[in-house]
Amino acid sequence: SQQGEEDPQALSIQEGENATMNCSYKTSINNLQWYRQNSGRGLVHLILIRSNEREKHSGRLRVTLDTSKKSSSLLITASRAADTASYFCATDPRGSNYKLTFGKGTLLTVNP
């Protein structure tokens, strides 16, 4: 079964609004990463948060991690039409230092 599960499966917002996507996972992790994918092709790494971190920022992105709840959230502020993409969380379970497990993703649509 999937280690990471994103929620919601799809999200549609207006340009300028904030978008929040959530990810839940099952086992203890070393870190959690968020990736973006345009048009079903290559993934672009967005941000990595380690298990001992609670929050991280990168530009308009804010990621939180709650290891007690085994969940993470990705917030995109002041969204733009160009943010339209699928967003995936990926975890590497403890005991594995390379094998990422991806969820099915959240499809974000930002309407101009």
Partner: protein, 117 residues
């Protein structure tokens, strides 16, 4: 510098034929990964190479799938006797080291879209 490249970008083949997918990782990256993504799904791990170590093939779905990495750089994923369920996007990624206390950032190629008729 150049990112991860994959070829071909699209491949249409007939059921039963063999296909080879190629991946050129980022120069200097010792770790290389293959994933498969079926329509509307997340990525499924297939195989991992790290330097000269034996690859982790635990994700390969059947013995029709094999991969090799020559000279620690270019990798080829081969699917023999393709089936319709093999249709997917095959993504390659590389990372600087792929070992240590936790996972490196993986850099993905654009993928090869395989369609088996």
């Amino acid at each position: 510098g150049a990112g991860v490249s994959q070829s071909p970008s699209n491949k249409v083949t007939e059921k039963g034929k063999d296909v080879e997918l190629r991946c050129d990782p980022i120069s200097g990256h010792t770790a290389l990964y293959w994933y498969r993504q079926s329509l509307g799904q997340g990525l499924e791990f297939l195989i991992y190479f790290q330097g000269n170590s034996a690859p982790d093939k635990s994700g390969l779905p059947s013995d029709r799938f094999s991969a090799e990495r020559t000279g620690g750089s270019v990798s080829t994923l081969t699917i023999q006797r393709t089936q319709q369920e093999d249709s997917a996007v095959y993504l390659c990624a590389s990372s600087l080291e792929g070992r240590g206390l936790s996972t490196d950032t993986q850099y993905f190629g654009p993928g090869t879209r395989l369609t088996v008729l």
